[in-house]
């Protein structure tokens, strides 16, 4: 990373609560606090890895940042400008700058559209180029992601999982975004294919100066691609820092447990696992105090009452939200 990091995106106190309906009248009786006060900073040109167990709010945070959801509270600043409260029309220019890639692009690719049609669509929506220009751009996109030009007239079902992910990436690149949110983009792929896609993402980042928010539950993959990492638990960021520090000197007990849980592909390695008891609590009724206290092996009285805030964990830009020191 360059010395002077400039933020491209910053969130403060970001919340996204889903109403939970119940009773005869289906009134919103409660809420699922999927994202519950997230402060996050993404620097231009970097990859920020976002890790956490399923249900902790990673996808919801990604979609809120991409403004597919309207935040319940808090701020999102993209290149210094507030986008959290923008209306549909006002968002249009930002839609080009922030794109998402999903786990199975098949679900987001129209099965009746050819690949050519799928890739041309963003240009049509944004009224860009003539027909010929758009065709040319589509061919360039295919080349960038390593698909043959003949793909243009084929349909998504004719492609393998890895190739479909390439189509998803090509579509995300169409409008030359600055920030791409990769939500479990390689999670469904076999390792051999996963490595092909990870290499492609790295190459594209270098070539186009892209910034990635890389969401995954696979810590080895995240370690491989990220400059910095944020660990999420029950709708909150519990630790963040540069990738090396997080893996070498994790400061939050949740991060420590997550790291020891990764199976190491080396039979000579003697695992010393800190096995966490139980499951993640429900985001509809999160515990009082520290959200992690119900599973924390080091829990103290204070943790059950007082909610910790993200604060300096020693090294520069290494933050943790935990009352205790290790």
């Amino acid at each position: 990373m360059s010395e002077k990091a400039t933020p491209i995106l910053e969130t403060t106190g970001l919340k996204l609560h889903f109403p939970v309906r119940g009773g005869i009248f289906q009134r919103a009786t409660n809420s699922c606090k999927a994202v519950d006060g997230v402060d996050l900073l993404i620097n231009s040109g970097e990859t920020l890895g976002l890790v956490g167990e399923s249900g902790c709010g990673k996808s919801t945070l990604g979609k809120t940042i991409a403004r597919l959801y309207k935040p319940t509270a808090g701020n999102i600043r993209f290149e210094g400008q507030e986008i959290g409260d923008l209306k549909r029309k006002e968002l249009q220019p930002f839609r080009r700058e922030i794109q998402m890639i999903f786990q199975d692009p098949y679900e987001s690719l129209n099965p009746r559209q050819t690949v050519g049609g799928i890739l041309e669509e963003p240009y049509v929506i944004h009224k860009l180029g003539t027909r010929e220009e758009r065709r040319k751009w589509v061919k360039e996109l295919l080349e960038k992601v390593g698909l043959p030009e003949s793909s243009i007239n084929r349909f998504p079902f004719e492609f393998s999982g890895g190739q479909r992910q390439r189509i998803g990436i090509a579509r995300a690149l169409a409008l030359k975004p600055k920030l791409i949110i990769c939500d479990e983009a390689v999670s469904a792929l076999d390792v051999s294919i996963q490595s092909q896609i990870l290499n492609l993402l790295l190459d594209l980042q270098k070539e186009l100066g892209l910034t990635y928010l890389f969401i995954s539950h696979d810590l080895a993959v995240v370690k491989h691609v990220s400059d910095r990492i944020a660990i999420m638990y029950l709708g909150r960021i519990v630790e963040t820092g540069d990738a090396e520090t997080i893996y070498q000197k994790p400061a939050h007990p949740y991060t420590q447990a997550l790291l020891t849980a990764i199976p190491v592909p080396d039979p000579e390695h003697i695992p010393s696992k800190q096995i966490l008891e139980g499951d993640v609590p429900s985001p509809i009724h999160p515990p009082d105090g520290c959200p992690f206290h119900t599973r924390c092996p080091h829990v103290e009285e204070r943790c059950r009452i007082e909610e910790p805030v993200l604060e300096n964990a020693g090294k520069k830009e290494h933050l943790k939200s935990c009352h205790l020191n290790f």
Partner: protein, 331 residues
């Protein structure tokens, strides 16, 4: 897991071939594989999706989908008896009492409209002729054994009331209820988070220590293989291309496919943000398979037409280390 030398095998598969009838004709999903599992030990089966791991598991259990799937040839000897030749009735007894199975998706193994305790009781009922009350009591004990909190209460609940990790524990309880000698676990933790995966693998290990059963663990995660298995079988396109004790396989992989798989995993101690090794292309469709070295076209190594056409021998190069000996892929 134990480090003693393997004793006589509990399960021994020889030249197993499995075929499916499809719209495009008959295809062979498993093409002459041989493997062994010794009593009390863990064999890992690894390979990309579509390589025939699940079909192998279903064949052992004689649960291939009918009528399109069938065992075309070979033998599956379990404790001396060829399961393929066993009458359906006897096979059902083996399945309930001596071989247990755990699937990836616990919901497919559980009945959504039956209480957990009832589903477990049925196992004791069917296979061990216990009374209703006894069966229920044993069920609660079993739930306790697999680490389910308040087992008396949980026994009266339905599968959807439990988390994914807890459901997988119930499936393990059902698979182990009859005290099987062999458990076949097909991607038992793939759908779970790493923290829950660690719980489940830990549970399986301690149950294995207590009960002494052998385990066939199917997974695509080489980390899970390294941490839990004694021996490993690497499958590619319906064949076993390499089989070895776990340490040998990781330290000295001899087949290009094994080497490719090992090289393409991102490692915590690897150089970040650099290119990973890849395996070009993908697993071929069954109808496009040729008889010779199947990994040849993806290996990046020049194969002659003969090498792609004639099946390489499966040979033992040192004790317990077997390879499909394509001269190009194992040079």
């Amino acid at each position: 897991m134990s480090t003693e030398t393997p004793s006589a095998s509990l399960l021994s598969i020889r030249d197993l071939c499995v075929e499916f009838d499809t719209d495009e004709g008959t295809v062979r999903a498993v093409d002459g594989i041989s493997l062994e599992i010794s009593a009390g030990r863990t064999l890992g089966i690894v390979g990309e999706s579509g390589c025939g791991k699940s079909v192998t598991a279903l064949s052992i259990m004689r649960l291939l989908p009918k009528p399109m799937g069938r065992i075309a040839s070979g033998e599956i000897k379990f404790d001396g008896t060829d399961l393929i030749k066993l009458p359906a009735e006897d096979m059902r007894t083996v399945r309930g009492n001596r071989i247990g199975m755990i699937f990836q998706e616990p919901m497919t193994a559980l009945n959504p409209v039956k209480k957990i305790g009832v589903q477990l009781s049925e196992v004791f009922f069917l296979h061990q002729t216990a009374s209703k009350e006894e069966a229920w009591k044993k069920s609660v004990e079993m739930l306790d054994k697999v680490g389910i909190p308040s087992p008396e209460i949980r026994a009266g609940e339905y599968p959807h009331q439990l988390s994914g990790g807890m459901r997988q524990r119930v499936v393990i309880a059902i698979a182990l209820a009859c005290g099987p000698e062999l458990v076949i676990a097909d991607e038992p933790t793939t759908a779970l988070d790493v923290t829950i995966q660690a719980q489940i693998l830990d549970l399986m290990k301690s149950l294995q220590r207590d009960l002494g059963m052998a385990v066939a663990l199917i997974t695509h995660d080489l980390g899970v293989i390294a941490e839990t298995c004694d021996e490993v079988c690497v499958m590619y396109a319906g064949r076993v291309v390499e089989r070895a004790p776990v340490k040998t396989l990781f330290a000295n992989p001899r087949h290009a496919y094994t080497q490719g798989l090992l090289a393409s995993i991102p490692r915590l101690d690897g150089q970040p943000k650099t290119h990973l090794r890849t395996i070009d292309g993908m697993v071929p469709a069954l109808k496009e398979l040729r008889p010779g070295c199947r990994f040849g076209p993806r290996s990046g190594r020049e194969h002659t037409e003969t090498q792609l056409e004639a099946r390489p021998e499966f040979i033992e190069i040192e004790t317990g280390h077997w390879i499909e000996a394509c001269p190009v892929c194992t040079e």
